[in-house]
């Protein structure tokens, strides 16, 4: 998992506003159900979890399964309590983790 996720936030954010957060990460989401040319099973490797937390407090979580498409795209909402840091974390089968920290410069 070396690719950086893509994240889209509104340009201006007001305190108390419910904003939409769009996220996309490149990943094949290998289901574990396919076989290669020689008939050998291709092991499962998916992003199995996504978390969003604001200054350490959980905002939103997603438990992902093989039924979620490749390059998982997740849009969630966040009611901004004030300025702070939004941390987004993607976890892959096998334990690899990618995380991004975003400054939320919320104004009154």
């Amino acid at each position: 998992m070396s690719l950086r996720p893509r994240i889209k936030l509104p340009e201006t954010i007001r305190i108390g506003e419910i904003i939409e957060v769009k996220t996309l990460i490149s990943h094949t989401m290998e289901t574990g159900q396919r076989r290669d040319k020689d008939g050998k099973p291709i092991p499962r490797k998916i992003i199995n979890a996504f978390r969003a937390a604001f200054d350490g407090t959980p905002v939103f979580t997603a438990e992902l399964h093989p039924g979620t498409s490749a390059n998982p795209y997740i849009v969630f909402h966040f009611k901004v309590p004030g300025p702070g840091e939004l941390e987004l974390t993607w976890s892959e089968d096998g334990g690899a983790v990618v995380s991004e920290r975003l400054k939320i410069n919320a104004e009154a």
Binding site: F54, G67, I74
Partner: protein, 165 residues
Amino acid sequence: MARIRVTNRREVLLGAASAASLLALISEVAAQTPPPAAPAATPPEASPYEQALDKILGDAKPSPGKINIEIPEIAENGNTVPYAISIDSPMTATDHIKAIHVLSTANPLPFVASFGFTLLSGKAAVSSRMRLAKTQEVSVIAEHSSGRFIAAKRTVKVTIGGCGG
């Protein structure tokens, strides 16, 4: 996380990859392997979907509820079917949606995703994309802070994805 073994190779293959490589794979596998044996172990027991549903609900019984589901009626590509789900909720400490579970009723692996909400979510709404192996119903279960469940379903016709439709 559910690990459910499925012996039907066609269904298994259809869950994945690009349409072109799929077609190649299917013909290859069909040429190499004998027809799959009928699943011997479990007779007319619960389907993978029903088992998944049991895992989410336990003993609870969902009631039909107002869940807004935006999903195409006809999906040309079963590999990425976009969906958006939302539920009207004040999202207060005593009255909020805790989770939304998305299941496919006829994929070999029925679990798609489970989304968890908090008061900081502000809205019980989520958008993502799912895989659908063939024409089937998509099942959405939402869990209220009181422990009640509501459920709704939508049929999606899948053009490329094979098997049915």
